[in-house]
């Protein structure tokens, strides 16, 4: 197994040994399950009226996509809580020298930390995605649209996790890392809000915003430009995290 894989697996083991991760997962899943049940009940209440319309939206549009959109908003808060300890926690507990002196290399350490955190986040994404997918047992779902939305959420989560790792590498305290990641995620969420109010929807500032690239996925559109955006954002954040680790290596404490 590569060193990055070993560190990623170790991150998993450490997360599984902490009540914090289990509590976080339980809260998120309970919250999403509650929203899901409310959405299903709302759909059932509307079903007679929808049946009367020819091009009425289906359960995918009225239950699954809103649920995933809501989950995307929750990820902005959830991911920083998952990533905050990955490097900042190591620094606070003075355990970073174990990795730094292991000869593994900064890039592999960051990649291992990233994969460990992303694995946990993606399990939550999969569990939340299972909720609307379960409706397929009793009704017809637009699987293409649903899978596109799940792919978008996964890429969105991957970028947020990379930002979280970057903030965890920069901050000396986990709480500060979480706050910074939340602030950075929120900034990327609303960076083009002013431009949109002015009617600008196709400028450079729009390209920087997360919703510009997440929304097409939620509408069932998988475009390479959006995939590239999330991948670039992820790569940039991880590269900066590697650089930061290199700086930390040169510091006395």
């Amino acid at each position: 197994m590569s060193a990055a894989g070993l560190i990623a697996r170790h991150e998993w083991r450490r997360l599984a040994a902490q009540p914090f991760a289990w509590t976080l997962a339980a809260i998120v899943l309970a919250l999403m399950a509650w929203q899901f049940l409310l959405a299903v009940q709302g759909f059932l209440d509307l079903a007679p009226q929808l049946a009367a319309r020819r091009d009425a939206p289906g359960v995918t549009d009225l239950v699954a996509i809103p649920l995933l959109r809501s989950f995307a908003n929750l990820l902005l808060l959830l991911v920083p809580l998952v990533t905050m300890r990955s490097l900042a926690g190591e620094r606070r507990a003075a355990t970073l020298p174990l990795l730094l002196a292991s000869g593994v290399g900064d890039a592999r350490i960051v990649l291992g930390k990233y994969c460990g955190a992303l694995g946990f986040v993606l399990v939550l994404v999969a569990l939340v995605a299972l909720m609307p997918l379960a409706l397929g047992l009793g009704t017809a779902l637009d699987y293409g649209k649903l899978l596109a939305a799940v792919l978008g959420i996964a890429l969105f989560a991957a970028a947020l996790t990379a930002i979280g790792i970057l903030c965890s590498a920069w901050a000396g305290q986990p709480a500060l890392a979480a706050a910074a990641a939340l602030a950075l995620g929120a900034l990327l969420l609303i960076v083009d809000a002013g431009a949109r109010l002015q009617g600008v929807t196709n400028a450079g500032i729009n390209y920087l915003a997360l919703p510009t690239h997440l929304e097409p996925f939620l509408r069932g559109i998988v475009a390479s430009v959006d995939i590239v955006y999330f991948l670039l954002l992820t790569a940039l954040a991880l590269l900066l995290a590697v650089q930061r680790l290199d700086v930390l290596r040169a510091r006395p404490h």
Partner: protein, 306 residues
């Protein structure tokens, strides 16, 4: 002596414009335990971090087995075991889980991990806490787990920064025995404030002060060529130098002398000569400057006589 495992050649390091380690030259061979001494802020921890590959020097070279650590950082993975000042423990894991990770992190093959971990547990006497979560253990146990992670992959070089910190006297004695045992098959560098630990464990001592190497030499003192002699009646220098084993004799007071021996002579020869000359001896002991005196002289900034 075998070629050095670790070589520091003119190694320097600055932090924020302040020189913490300056032009440090050191070498440690397999089968040798080097004690690194110095007051707080002398540069010991920085020097040890560079030896362990956790910090790159600004100038000079750190070589492991003749190869530059800066150019081959992966060497540290298998060949160096490092215990920092604060043991880098993952508190939420059990002792065995943590040591298994450390073994794999340092490149121990999957099939050899169990044996390596068991060996480290046995050497550090961790059997009692092997299945316990590290976070609930006492400082002494945690320190020993820290030492175990530094040796689990059987590295060539073991760097221990203040390993006796937090140990009770019985555990400290066990640590001395462990370090001596490690020193038989590995090169060991040990920093401590406890001079008795250095005297008990180390073959050589290096004293750092203000980032510079101020003294290096064997730990064992007293086997040298100068003795302190006390007599019941006053003597003259001529009387003493007329004795075969005596090369020089300098009075300390009326009844005490600092006697330099001729090559090949020892304290027993001098004692026999004195008795044969009818001199009543009240004191005869080594008069080399002890480690503590050397350390204090350096720490207080005095120039040490060679």
């Amino acid at each position: 002596m075998s070629p050095p495992i670790l070589e520091l050649v003119r190694v320097s390091r600055q932090f924020a414009g302040r020189t913490v380690v300056q032009a440090l030259d050191l070498a440690v061979a397999r089968g040798e335990v080097l004690g690194l001494l110095g007051v707080n802020g002398a540069g010991k921890t920085t020097a040890m971090r560079m030896m362990a590959g956790a910090l790159a020097p600004d100038a000079g070279h750190v070589r492991l087995g003749g190869r530059d650590l800066a150019q081959h950082p992966q060497l540290a993975r298998r060949q160096v075991g490092y215990l920092p000042e604060t043991p880098p423990l993952h508190a939420e894991l059990t002792t065995v889980e943590y040591l298994r990770f450390c073994a794999r992190l340092h490149g121990v093959a999957r099939g050899a991990v169990t044996a390596a971990v068991e060996r480290a547990i046995e050497r550090c006497q961790l059997g009692e806490v092997r299945g316990r979560v590290i976070g609930v253990l006492s400082k002494g146990w945690r320190q020993r787990i820290g030492i175990a992670q530094a040796i689990v992959h059987a590295p060539d070089l073991i760097v221990l920064d203040e390993p006796a910190s937090g140990l009770d006297p019985v555990q400290a004695l066990g640590l001395r025995a462990l370090v001596r045992e490690l020193g038989r098959a590995h090169a060991v560098v040990l920093s401590t404030h406890l001079l008795p630990d250095v005297a008990a464990c180390c073959d050589r001592v290096a004293i750092l002060h203000q980032g510079r190497l101020r003294h290096t030499g064997p730990t064992a003192v007293g086997g040298g060529t100068h003795l302190r002699l006390g007599t019941r009646a006053p003597l003259t220098a001529q009387t003493l130098t007329s004795l075969t084993p005596v090369a020089t004799a300098a009075p300390l007071d009326v009844l005490h002398w600092r006697v330099g021996l001729r090559p090949g002579s020892d304290a027993a020869d001098l004692a026999a000569a004195l008795v044969g000359h009818g001199v009543a001896v009240t004191e005869l002991r080594a008069d080399e400057p002890p480690l503590e005196a050397i350390f204090i002289a350096i720490a207080s900034g005095e120039a040490l006589a060679a």
